[in-house]
Assembly symmetry: C2
Homo-oligomer: 211 residues x 2
């Protein structure tokens, strides 16, 4: 299978780490999102929404969404489980993974896309046409990231990982969110968030974090 | 089990419809989000993020996120399957359900929250503190909803339901998104989107749509 990927963006990295944790091999195809190659006809014929990552199976089936790709890989390669093993753990991990997305990743994306000069008319990701950046939304995103760090720090005072005592997709989303926020969006982990720092050092030391 | 619910908001309705399709019973507790009762201490002690829906199991376990609640219910009551039955259908439904959320529901929420006078300092849902509405974001959300309708119309020209030939959680998300967009956010289905209209009449006629 082929993974259409960009090493610059947080969502493709979520899938690369997920694949690495599972030990799954795939062909990697880089798409230059800064040049806008995700909006070229050749890529839009594969994924009309123009978004990465996109997985194409050997039979041509396209799975065009980050968590859907992870779901497919979990089904085909159940071990180690990253989406839970019973009703409660599956629900808890899903909830925490979505908290990381809605409270963290969307905030970091708002902060980045609405302040990065190269995206001044690409305020929304993918094939959304010309969308003006909104400076007030960049500010709202930065403030939301600060709240996100505080909330995550409180949660990690009681548990080793984001969704409890086992590493899961929720940790992958949080790691990719924070590295993206600290880099592209310039909202690093606040000094006082010692639990986030301990957790970040821990998950960053896993071999999968290099994927 | 108890579902903390609001009949005014789209996310709790997603869970009510999901439960109705499964024939699952629960105790319903209404929270007045216009008065801000979701931000009272009594509710924040159950869900610190201050968001609905929230499910509390008989043993006290809290599941505080829409899709995570659906995941739990699907695990406990597999029939009829609303999240897929094999690796490909699970991935396809997850992808389509997330397209409905990220392209549709978030756009409608931006359009509503940033234009509704009562939410002028509640630009983000839940326990996010005072967040100023951003009028330009309401406009961006309306434009994104128009693109969403066009994209959904094209997809529904080839299939009975949002994720293919079976009713799924993707239809539930799309229905709740569109009814919310048409009502609160004032972006109704465009006249030319005949496939969306056919599908909307079809899913609205299911008994679960009354839930």
């Amino acid at each position: 299978m082929k993974l259409y990927d960009s090493t610059l963006a947080p969502n493709p990295r979520r899938v690369r780490i997920f694949m690495a944790e599972k030990g799954v091999d795939y062909e990697n195809i880089q798409i230059d999102i800064i040049k806008g190659d995700n909006l070229n006809e050749s890529f839009l014929s594969i994924n009309p929404r123009g978004l990465l990552p996109t997985l194409v199976l050997d039979d041509g089936t396209v799975i065009d969404e980050t968590v859907a790709i992870c779901r497919y890989i979990e089904e085909m390669h159940p071990e180690p489980a990253l989406l839970g093993t019973d009703a409660i753990s599956k629900a808890t991990i899903e909830a925490r993974q979505r908290h990381m997305e809605f409270d963290g990743l969307l905030a970091a994306a708002d902060a980045f896309r609405n302040s990065f000069p190269g995206f001044s008319s690409r305020g929304l990701a993918g094939n959304a046409g010309s969308v003006e950046a909104i400076p007030a939304l960049a500010e709202r995103g930065k403030n939301a990231m600060v709240r996100f760090y505080a909330s995550l720090d409180a949660a990690l005072s009681n548990s080793a990982f984001v969704a409890g005592e086992a590493f899961s997709i929720a940790d992958i989303t949080a790691l990719c969110t924070i590295d993206f926020a600290a880099g592209a969006a310039r909202v690093p982990i606040p000094d006082q968030c010692s639990n986030v720092k301990r957790w970040h050092a821990d998950v960053s030391s896993r071999p999968s974090a290099e994927a």
